[in-house]
Symmetry: C2
Subunit: 294 residues, 2 copies
């Protein structure tokens, strides 16, 4: 019987959720940065829904400062809202923690979550649950709703051959430098880019892993990347910029007609999509399950 | 430094979430069965938001059939939507599992979740995440949205002295008999009761624990319970009916004017709320953290 690590996280989620029948009011189901649901056809807004979690010893270390843990837990979900061009609104927090966790630690997680929410503005934690984890460790799972204009939400599926590939900031070295614990989600950037982009996602697992995902979802496009054009973070080198995860910059497909806007939108062009076929080889990347076993 | 088990789950969540500032569109924040948010003041509906999780070896045993695990995970959250008088709409599923879990097991969880959703009708899973748990075990965290008429959502806070106390079904023995793995949430009952009830919640931790919670939230009311009137499940005795958790029946406060409707609404009257003061002593109950340590 295959285990999770045998088939990988992406294939597992695909096999679990692709058979799910979706009613007409679900505009985007599982497989994108957020789901998109239409609660009121007369409204010019649709709702974004997202859930994510961070786990001790996987997404942060046991000695990480509690506030930074909470910040990251919340920022990751806001980053997914940003990747759709949306605005986060309400958060629900589920904590499962072993009994050795102190009240002070958990209060620190909440402080960090609220610091992120205050920075974003308009986002509030409206529900919380805690439960006991039998083994030493902790999980913080956060679900979030958001809103986005009906005409401007951006999925991973719309890139076309000839579209430019752009990113919102320098890449690499995030985990090593601990930037992954205090990054600011690209919310304003995502909202500004959304009216122009044909596809968008946030870079959580690294360019080498996430770009093929976006290309696959956009009809299996090919792509050519100009390695010299990739913005490299001072914490990293080119290999890290391509292969490291946890950047939380946005990966954007822009039509050629938007080329002159790319810089004004705060993006750097690093290549272009092509007809299905060749793809510039990219090594590295980081996937939760395979990263631990492969 | 106090740990979670020192202060208990209720007090922890209270200390974490009560300082949270809520914007005006959050009608009900943390501390009730669901949050209630007002997305569109011109609509006659408001949105319900809820998150919950189940954990291996806490809420189910490692050898429990996967479909029953998934059913319970989803049914618990639907039960909270029912307790507000609402209708569930969209679910987001986060799974954290150790690598020894097989794909077949996780597919079984999803089958169970979808069986519950199909039974409910109109509820769909719109997003899923999986992550690796370093220790052996598993957690299924589900967030859910729902809808409820603006004029008819029911919180824990509205019971008045003189209101009748009622429950929607026989209590006790749920965990022992494994009813907790395949119960049907009282969705239709909650919707039918909501226009009449002054307060409502679902009985997840047992009457002895949950009734004081509702009374506390309703201004610290007292109550008198007629122990002979408590409906006892064939799987249980009176002590279990009062003290066992996992019933997922609804606990309802009905004004005296609705007394003649109680039976038609499928409820059994077991007592009445009084001015703050005396409460019928109830022993037992079940709280996740204290239950394991106290």
């Amino acid at each position: 019987m295959p285990s999770i690590s045998d088939i990988g996280e992406d294939a597992l989620i695909e096999s679990l959720t692709s058979p799910l029948a979706q009613p007409a009011h679900v505009l985007v189901g599982p497989g994108d940065d957020c789901a998109v649901v239409d609660l009121d056809p007369s409204s010019d807004q649709v709702q974004l829904l997202k859930t994510d979690c961070i786990i001790e010893s996987v997404h942060y270390l046991p000695d990480t400062a509690p506030e930074r843990i909470g910040w990251k837990a919340m920022a990751r979900v806001v980053s997914d809202i940003a990747a759709m061009g949306g605005t986060p609104l309400h958060a629900l927090v589920t904590i499962a923690a072993s009994e050795d966790k102190t009240v002070a630690e958990i209060e620190g997680w909440y402080r960090g979550m609220n610091q992120l929410a205050d920075t974003v503005g308009g986002l509030s934690i409206v529900g919380g649950e805690t439960a006991s984890l039998p083994q030493p460790g902790a999980i913080i799972s956060i679900a979030m709703t958001g809103t986005v204009p009906r005409d401007h939400y951006v999925t991973r599926c719309g890139a076309q051959p000839g579209d430019l590939i752009a990113v919102t900031g320098p890449l690499g070295g995030s985990f090593h430098s601990e930037r992954h614990l205090d990054f600011t989600p690209r919310l304003a950037e995502g909202q500004a880019i959304a009216p122009y982009a044909t596809a968008m996602m946030d870079l959580s697992d690294g360019l080498a892993k996430d770009l093929p995902r976006l290309a696959d979802r956009s009809g299996g496009l090919g792509y050519q990347i100009d390695l010299d054009a990739i913005p490299i973070h001072p914490d990293s080198d080119l290999a890290g910029a391509i292969g490291d995860g946890e950047d939380y910059e946005l990966l954007v497909a822009l039509p050629p007609t938007a080329a002159d806007r790319a810089a004004a939108l705060g993006t750097t062009i690093i290549g272009a999509f092509t007809e299905p076929g060749q793809r510039t080889p990219l090594d590295g990347g980081w996937e939760h399950f395979r990263g631990k076993t492969g």
